[in-house]
């Protein structure tokens, strides 16, 4: 186990994780960089349930940073086929060039993407929190997937449910609502996503 870092959730639970996992969060990384004798980083706005989900994602992505945002795939040094050995991989080969030609890397990335898609099919209650956490902790790949998950959640629900999902208020005046309901009276039909 490499160097670890301790994170304290908003509800006081402590998580000890490897730096490679935690530092996918640009916020955690910059907080840790500061000259701090105490290697405990408090995250008051993320509670333990969400933080553990976030860390689960980060653990899975520890070896594949920026899969979604840069599609840089796996650095050749970490390629499962090459096993970290220098043989066969020239030092000047860029990561993306490597993954374009290396079948093993490509398969690994596709598997990761599949895992991600399943990951964001979380309980709908969590998707809003996941989105907020990804934004607050500034984790690019998680943000990318959370947006995908949120879009699916919006698409799969009717307006009242969408409001519940994202803590939104129905701020139409009663007159406006009447107008809108008239315009969309067909919405009363059972909705099949």
């Amino acid at each position: 186990m490499g160097k670890t870092i301790k994170l304290i959730s908003g509800d006081g639970e402590m998580f000890e994780v490897e730096e490679a996992v935690a530092f996918q969060s640009n916020i955690i990384k910059s907080l840790a960089d500061e000259d701090n004798a105490d290697d405990c980083i408090p995250l008051p706005r993320v509670d333990s349930q969400i933080l553990s989900k976030v860390l689960e994602f980060c653990r899975k992505h520890a070896n594949s940073p920026s899969v979604h945002t840069k599609f840089a795939a796996i650095p050749s040094e970490l390629c499962p086929k090459h096993d970290g050995s220098a043989a066969g991989a020239s030092s000047s080969e860029s990561s993306s060039a490597h993954s374009e030609t290396c079948r093993a890397c490509y398969d690994a990335v596709m598997k990761l993407v599949q895992w991600d898609l399943e990951f964001v099919k979380v309980d709908l209650d969590l998707i809003h929190h996941l989105l907020k956490a990804a934004n607050y902790l500034d984790i690019e790949d998680l943000m990318f997937m959370a947006v995908e998950g949120a879009a699916n959640a919006i698409r799969g629900n009717n307006p009242e449910e969408i409001r519940k999902l994202f803590d939104l208020e129905n701020d139409f005046t009663p007159e406006e609502e009447k107008e809108i309901l008239k315009e969309y009276s067909w919405l009363d039909d059972p909705f099949e996503p």
């Binding site: 979604h68 945002t69 840069k70 599609f71 596709m110 993407v113 991600d116 898609l117 809003h128 989105l131 907020k132 934004n135 943000m143 990318f144 947006v147 995908e148 949120a150 879009a151 919006i154 698409r155 009717n158 307006p159 969408i162 409001r163 994202f166 803590d167 939104l168 208020e169 129905n170 701020d171 139409f172 809108i180 315009e183 969309y184 067909w186 919405l187 039909d189 059972p190 909705f191 099949e192």
Partner: protein, 374 residues
């Protein structure tokens, strides 16, 4: 999925929280990925969502994502009665997508600021150009432009000649206005490049072919065809010299063309008084009937209008619902896919036919019907 979307760089004015706890630009990304078929639901969520849907920011965000939505095309419909006129947007995608039991009603659009009668209408991309017409019996130079995405009317550059019942067409990115005014007018024909934000330019034309009122207009193989009282004319913008640009309509075409017409797949379709849809094929200079739909459509299509909806021949006519107690107007519309057989016949297949209820007085007629990009 899993393709890296370029960071959707949108500058969002603070309009209030779209999704609490998330910056608005992230929320826009989430909402932008929802398919268009769900937009009516999104509009009902909250005020900020409703106003987002109509905003340029949202259009930009959606166009930057490579979404699997089918090409977004809708029909702008202008209904007119002696006392009233109204505009609607008929969106085939919303009507036929998903497993909804009821179709959403056509969207009522704002009316143009100038209530002109006898304007000419042409569409270019997502904009509809309403040219001239008369207001209080006085022909107008006004140009009114409707933006389908923003659902807003604005004024365009005024024409040089006031027109009513002119021919209007969009060819090669330009809007043309022909006739609708006295033949001796200098600017009897003029054109505009809307993107250059410029002014109308006169299109020179020989006196001999000039007519006053135009009854129908279509664009066939890059040429504008217009039908007037005594015959038709053809304008070819690509011809090398001014003289070569204007000419008469081929006699066979002229004999069969009855006013409203549309061009689909290089064939000009018109609806004759016997209730048959025919297509004029310029390559063989002959009219051909459209086979395969005779038994499926009613014998007579009252007040029929034809238009090209994304490569489909779309027919609209007024329903014969006059006896019912319903106060609103009912129109019928049908979409026909036409293919040419190996021996050059036109084979049509009816994709849909259904009534549409419109919030317009019974007895209205269809004044304009044009496709618009959304």
């Amino acid at each position: 999925m899993a393709h890296p979307a370029a960071a959707v760089a949108v500058a969002v004015a603070a309009v209030g929280d779209l999704i609490p706890g998330i910056p608005d630009d992230v929320a826009v990304r989430c909402i932008a990925q929802v398919p268009r078929s769900h937009h009516p639901f999104l509009a009902v969520v909250s005020r900020s969502w409703r106003s987002l849907l109509g905003s340029p920011i949202f259009c930009a965000a959606r166009s930057q994502l490579s979404l699997p939505d089918p090409p977004a095309l809708a029909l702008a419909l202008n209904l007119r009665s002696p006392t009233d006129q109204s505009w609607f947007l008929l969106d085939p995608f919303l009507r036929f997508s998903g497993s909804r039991k009821k179709s959403p009603p056509p969207l009522r659009l704002p009316s143009p600021p100038l209530p002109a009668i006898g304007s000419a209408c042409a569409s270019l991309g997502g904009s509809l150009f309403l040219l001239g017409g008369s207001v209080a019996d006085v022909p107008s130079l006004a140009v009114q432009i409707f933006d389908a995405r923003l659902r807003r009317w604005s004024s365009g550059p005024r024409m040089s000649a006031a027109r009513e019942f002119a021919a209007a067409a969009a060819v090669g990115g330009r809007i043309y206005a022909i006739g609708g005014c006295l033949p001796r007018a200098d600017a009897w024909a003029e054109s505009l490049d809307p993107s250059a934000g410029g002014k109308w330019a006169v299109v020179p034309s020989p006196m001999l072919i000039r007519e006053k009122w135009m009854h129908g207009c279509a664009v066939l193989a890059g040429r504008i065809l217009a039908v007037a009282d005594r015959g038709g004319l053809v304008y070819d913008p690509a011809a090398p010299s001014n003289e070569a640009r204007w000419g008469p309509v081929p006699p066979v075409l002229d004999n069969g063309w009855r006013g409203r017409a549309t061009v689909v797949g290089g064939i000009l379709y018109s609806y004759d008084f016997l209730g048959k849809i025919k297509g004029y094929d310029p390559e063989s200079d002959e009219w051909k009937k459209v086979e395969g739909v005779e038994n499926e459509l009613p014998t007579f299509l009252c007040g029929a209008t034809l238009t090209n909806l994304g490569g489909l021949l779309c027919l609209l006519w007024t329903g014969k619902d006059l006896a019912s107690r319903r106060k609103e107007m009912v129109i019928e519309w049908a979409g026909i896919e036409i293919s040419k057989t190996t021996d050059g016949r036109l084979q049509g297949s009816l994709l849909w036919q259904e009534p549409v209820v419109l919030d317009a007085p019974k007895g209205s007629y269809i004044a304009h019907c044009v496709p618009l990009d959304l």
